[in-house]
């Protein structure tokens, strides 16, 4: 209870909210179904899951729809939802070698151990805007479904099954292992970071172990990582080399928990991930010039540009070892919600602070301060007692 109606602002935000709701509910176009978003706008859903740090295609699609296609906003919805949920356990650490690949390319070798599997990618789709008339395109899609050429009810599992490839192909060896057998890479494995740092519990800050950096990059905003990568390749910072890519994979990984009663591992589902290994040419004075080193990137969903940037930044961070500003840039400036939220907070009322700034401007113009500036003229020699400095050190 108080004397001032706190209702003005409340009414205003209610009205703004109503305008949002009206357009979302009363649009003349038909209702956008979640399965449509998951099927047809998969890259967007994957980005929301990756940057949101939460694997749940349906929730991500819901967020994407509610955010009207704004990826940062959708990520915000997913993460804020995550904050409402109790964390009652952690999954077992996933073994990336258990991946079921949907796509795997190894640019570093013509014929690497295991397959070169182009899989589903937009890379070679011709990149010409499809101008098929809407009616025709829709008809073709309907016909295709009728002919059973496509299964509109594609699920994650079906997608894997669609690839008519045997298990050995889908679970290929790892190029890094081959490079190790060839004694072509330095061994940087260490044992002091056994359990991944949960960056939602412990802020990832300079000095954090590698697992925290990798987690931070896995959740980072895609554009921010790409920009940071490019800035360090071409821009003034120059911390990065262009790497040669060892592995670029997109596939499914089983997720397991320890059974609460028996303690046995129990597979509870799968996540799709993009995984990248980036081979770095070591050329530092104190580095082993005769060998390579490898950076690592992994993120939820299919997002190769992010995973590549991440892998390249990972190896750059290892080589930099906290000596330069790169670590701080990666850990503190690449989170999409941090950057956007802080940018947009400038829209909040700032009239109390601005008043304080106006006051200093008038103070600077006042006679009092003008006089103070004049009085402070560089001290003339005659103004101060110039003694010799004897006794200094006594």
């Amino acid at each position: 209870m108080g004397y001032v109606a706190a209702k003005g602002g409340f009414d205003a935000i209610r009205a703004a909210e109503e305008l949002v709701r009206t357009r979302q509910r009363e649009s003349r176009s038909s209702w956008l179904e979640l399965d449509q978003i998951i099927d047809r706008l998969g890259y967007a859903v994957d980005r929301v899951m990756g940057e949101g740090g939460l694997w749940d295609p349906e929730l991500a699609a819901r967020a994407f729809r509610q955010a009207e296609g704004d990826l940062i906003e959708a990520t915000h919805l997913v993460r804020a939802h995550r904050s409402t949920l109790p964390r009652f356990g952690a999954t077992r650490t996933v073994d990336a070698d258990e991946i079921d690949v949907l796509r795997r390319i190894v640019p570093a070798f013509r014929e690497p151990p295991g397959p070169q599997l182009l899989g589903r990618t937009l890379d070679y789709t011709g990149r010409l805007l499809d101008l098929t008339p809407e009616d025709q395109a829709r008809n073709e899609a309907v016909m295709a479904v009728a002919d059973g050429l496509t299964d509109t009810g594609t699920t994650e599992a079906d997608e894997v099954a669609d690839h008519d490839i045997d298990r050995a192909t889908r679970v290929p060896g790892r190029l890094l292992d081959a490079l190790r057998s060839m004694d072509a890479v330095v061994d940087r494995r260490r044992s002091d970071d056994p359990d991944p740092i949960d960056i939602t519990r412990l802020p990832a800050r300079p000095g954090s172990p590698r697992s925290a950096r990798l987690s931070a990059m896995a959740r980072a905003e895609t554009g921010a990582l790409v920009q940071l990568w490019y800035r360090n390749i071409l821009g003034p910072d120059r911390h990065l080399h262009e790497v040669t890519l060892g592995e670029v994979r997109h596939g499914r990984l089983p997720v397991s928990v320890e059974h609460p009663l028996t303690g046995e591992p129990l597979t509870v589902g799968h996540v799709r991930v993009t995984e990248v290994e980036a081979i770095e040419d070591l050329d530092g004075v104190d580095e082993d010039r005769t060998r390579f080193d490898v950076g690592y990137g992994m993120t939820f969903g299919h997002n190769e540009r992010k995973a590549i940037a991440m892998a390249n930044l990972d190896i750059a961070l290892a080589r930099d070892d906290g000596s330069g500003p790169l670590e701080q840039s990666v850990l503190l400036t690449t989170d999409g919600l941090d950057a956007s939220g802080f940018l947009e907070h400038l829209k909040l009322p700032h009239y109390v602070t601005f008043r304080s700034m106006m006051e200093r401007k008038s103070a600077l113009r006042s006679d009092r301060v003008r006089q103070a500036r004049a009085d402070r003229r560089p001290v003339a020699v005659s103004d101060c007692e110039v003694t010799d400095l004897s006794g200094v050190g006594a």
Binding site: P378, V379, A380, V381, D383, C384, E385, V386, T387, D388, L389, S390, G391, V392, G393, A394
Partner: protein
């Protein structure tokens, strides 16, 4: 020789190895072997077995070519680098009972406020070039607890006047100053809190001869006036001759000769010293 309780700075057995091995890297390096790279570990032995003693009001010279280890010695004493082994003591710290190398890094850094000052060859190491000359001195004074603006300004002006920096430049960023003027501001800043020991690392290298001569005159006067104990590191015999009474010659990370500076210049004993003096006097 001076009585042992007179020193202001005492260094014993200082060694610095860059790279693996520590003391094990040392055999096979030094003047006798003509190398600083350890044959066993590949580490670089920056300096080893260094003993120095400076009494109040005395300047000790450290001469050597670049790569001789003289700057390593200075940086280990200053705390800019971590010594591998040895001791350094200041009379003004626990009456010399504490080995500086055993101190916590924070306590070590605090010595730089008012016990142990450094003037670097590169002014950007000792100064914030974006800050005014007065502000650079205010940095040291406020670190020592000064909180009165007027007094800070008066002390800064006094120091700048003494180091012959025109006071109408006092409020200009040091980055706008000439090289010689920057060194004068560095000296003013270094002496701000009356340290007991001053380390000078090639203080006039890179300056024009006439400017360098002026700065050297100033340094000599300041050393006389303040009674500070100083270590002057230089490759330049003129600098050493002008500022120091005693000096040591370093070669491949070791002291190869020491003595009174003028005797050392007149009659060097070690072949390396002879070569060095010969080249300088040539």
């Amino acid at each position: 020789m001076n009585a042992p309780n007179e020193w202001a700075l005492l260094v014993e057995g200082l060694g610095k190895v860059y790279g693996p091995g520590g003391a094990e890297a040392v055999p096979g390096t030094g003047p006798d072997f003509g190398r600083t790279v350890s044959p066993s570990t590949g580490a670089i032995v920056g300096c080893w077995d260094i003993d120095l003693e400076v009494v109040p009001g005395e300047a000790l010279g450290v001469i050597g070519e670049s790569g001789s280890g003289k700057s390593t010695v200075m940086r280990c004493i200053a705390g800019d680098q971590t010594a591998t082994t040895g001791q350094a003591r200041l009379r003004s710290v626990d009456d010399g009972a504490t080995n500086l190398f055993d101190m916590e890094p924070s306590a070590r850094r605090a010595l730089r406020i008012d016990q142990l000052a450094v003037v670097y060859q590169d002014p950007s190491e000792g100064l914030d070039l974006g800050v005014s000359a007065g502000g650079n001195i205010a940095d040291r004074l406020t670190a020592a607890g000064w909180r009165n603006f007027g007094q800070i300004r008066a002390r800064a002006a006094e120091l700048l006047a003494r180091t012959e920096v025109p006071l109408d430049r006092m409020d200009d960023p040091v980055g706008t100053f000439s090289g010689g003027m920057r060194q004068r501001v560095q000296l003013a800043k270094a002496l701000a809190n009356r340290p007991s020991v001053l380390l000078l690392d090639e203080p006039t290298t890179g300056l024009d001869a006439s400017v360098a001569a002026g700065v050297l005159d100033l340094i000599r006067d300041l050393l006389d006036e303040t009674g500070v104990g100083a270590v002057v590191v230089s490759h330049d015999f003129n600098v050493i001759e002008m500022l120091t009474r005693r000096s040591v010659v370093m070669h491949h990370g070791r002291i190869v000769e020491q003595g009174l500076t003028d005797q050392l210049l007149e009659d060097p004993q070690h072949p390396y010293s002879q070569r060095l003096v010969g080249a300088a006097r040539g």
